[in-house]
């Protein structure tokens, strides 16, 4: 629990996510207060995944897409670029796979 200064006094403050832990397990709240926050590898990766999802969620805040901001020409350019990037990626993968297959045959 952190403290914030209000009217020259230190007042204990609690974040919404800390308070939400009360709905998970009260014993966990007490242990985390005593020992600090410990996370398993699985929990850490879940936290990272959640942060990534939140960043994306924030980028998407203005609705359907960025199409409105780009305009017609910008949107067309974006689509063309995406198309070529996709095909370039596909060709690269296929070439690599064919090379690998040829090497396998030689061996």
């Amino acid at each position: 629990m952190a403290s914030v200064k209000r009217c020259g006094r230190l007042v204990a403050s609690v974040s919404a996510s800390e308070l939400a832990q009360m709905g998970v397990c009260e014993r966990l709240v007490v242990f985390e207060h005593q020992c600090g926050k410990l996370r398993t590898a699985e929990q850490q990766s879940a936290i990272k995944r959640g942060r990534r999802a939140h960043r994306r969620f924030y980028r998407e805040r203005n609705g359907d897409s960025d199409r409105g901001k780009r305009g017609f020409a910008g949107h067309f350019r974006h689509q063309v670029r995406r198309f070529w990037r996709t095909w370039y990626c596909l060709l690269l993968r296929v070439t690599r796979w064919l090379h690998a297959a040829e090497n396998r045959d030689e061996l």
Binding site: V14, A16, L19, R61, G63
Partner: protein, 185 residues
């Protein structure tokens, strides 16, 4: 011939994967997952930190806040999880967010909020409308938390066994229920 067939199959598989990942635009997914009440309404806040004044100081970072047709602010929270359902902790978190936002801005808030769930791979699974708890109950919960941390009360155990399975403190936690304690290793 076999080699060519395998190559074609691999290409088809890859194109299908690209179609799924790149050509289904994520922004459209986000809008589709919004509940009917919030489609086409104005977004007021996104990723903003709020703090309520005394008696209990609660700080909260909101994911999104929309103004609905009746002029009230509605909270939206994104959750990444396998299960397509809200938890009690989500309700507490959103209630705390409402308390903090209302305390700082003084605006009228709706007594419900939405939780958007998506799977760990980013696929949206649905939106859930939840009823938020009253400010008095939230203050009581914050007070109980302070009492627990001060050692004035005994903490209760988790209601679900799944919580204990994933908990790092499971060995430290001397579970009072032998049946539950024995099942968790």
């Amino acid at each position: 011939m076999n080699f060519e067939a395998a190559a074609l199959a691999r290409i088809a598989e890859f194109v299908a994967a690209l179609w799924r990942q790149k050509w289904s635009s994520p922004p459209a997914k986000a809008t589709k997952s919004l509940p009917q009440e919030l489609r086409g309404v104005r977004l007021i806040y996104a990723e903003r930190l709020f703090g309520s004044p005394s008696p209990v100081v609660i700080t909260a970072r909101v994911d999104r806040v929309y103004r609905n047709a009746t002029g009230k602010l509605v909270l939206v929270e994104l959750k990444t999880r396998e299960a397509n359902r809200p938890y009690w902790s989500d309700v507490i978190e959103l209630s705390a967010q409402r308390f903090a936002l209302c305390g700082q801005t003084g605006e009228a808030m709706a007594d419900h909020a939405y939780i958007l769930t998506e799977r760990p791979d980013g696929r949206p699974t649905g939106s859930h409308r939840v009823r938020l708890i009253a400010p008095a109950d939230l203050i009581a919960l914050a007070t109980r938390r302070q009492e627990l941390l001060a050692g004035m009360n005994d903490p209760k155990q988790a209601d679900f066994r799944g919580v204990c399975r994933k908990c790092v403190f499971v060995r430290l936690c001397n579970l009072p229920w032998p049946r539950l304690g024995q099942s968790i290793k």
